[in-house]
Symmetry: C2
Subunit: 200 residues, 2 copies
Amino acid sequence: MAETNALPLVLLTEQFARLPGIGMKSAQRLAYHVMTMSEGEAREFANAIVNVHKTVHLCSCCQNYTDKELCPVCADPRRDHSTICVVESPKDITAFERTKEYKGVYHVLHGLISPIDGVTPDSLKIKELLARIGKGGISEVIMATNPTVEGEATAMYVSKLLKPLGVKVTRLAFGLPIGGILEYADEITLFKALENRNEI
Amino acid sequence: MAETNALPLVLLTEQFARLPGIGMKSAQRLAYHVMTMSEGEAREFANAIVNVHKTVHLCSCCQNYTDKELCPVCADPRRDHSTICVVESPKDITAFERTKEYKGVYHVLHGLISPIDGVTPDSLKIKELLARIGKGGISEVIMATNPTVEGEATAMYVSKLLKPLGVKVTRLAFGLPIGGILEYADEITLFKALENRNEI
């Protein structure tokens, strides 16, 4: 196909197509949409992209994204600062906050150990977690990584480092999802649900 | 939910959520993805957005997007410049070019007549089409708007303006899509397929 699009539009389409979950057709639709924006709107969009890099950095305590010294959770005196929930990425914090039940604080690892992708423990925010616990005052660390191979491996690796520090380390419960149907549950989930059964 | 995200991240999420087909969850994922880009990559992305507005404008002949005086189709002497395919938007041109069969040129209306959305014929590139045909040398105009209420109305409106100019006006054929199953065709498509049947 002869390229009938203007080069800057092709370049913008390629930029959109690099984003996760955006294919070439969606990317083209988005690029065309940018053309229909006013110049001011396009500039605002472009500024928003550059601005997150300029102003957003990691919270000095929990490594979540923030534009202040401490993120809102770490800066909140009403939170329970003795309980740390360890997650893979900042978006997991949003998920936990949606439950409105968790009152503790977080620690973001920014990845999971995955030798196949070249992610070693050194490239994660594990040192920062150890330093934080070393300061004292932490009673429990909840390993809240995903129930995947990498998530399990990371939870095991981190918990082994934490145990000698005398801190209680827990793992999220795995079992049937609420509202799920037993018939459609995969065998590993069902096995976990059976294994972790509770007396009623 | 207490907002745990940094304000610049929230603003970027809102920018992404304004794009067509991107919901709040996807927008957040995209905003987080921008944070994982290098600063250079983010700047390149932002520049691509601003650049399309700076350098891309409408082709002086067919109103397609281009960064030159004429778009590649209008500038190509091997195309049949006596046949104009009238489309709603530039992305329709990409669709026609994919067929590799159409050798004529295009004219982009940049919308369809839709009084309910405040789109009147004046806001479309109809004057430009009439001026182009007024210059002579056009033998056929193919109305290639979508088979929707607005697409049909626009095709009818434009064709009524063109008929007095003595130019042949045609409309795309509507019928069963190739590879489609008769059983699942909607009644209007099936009626059109029946109405426009051809001798074999």
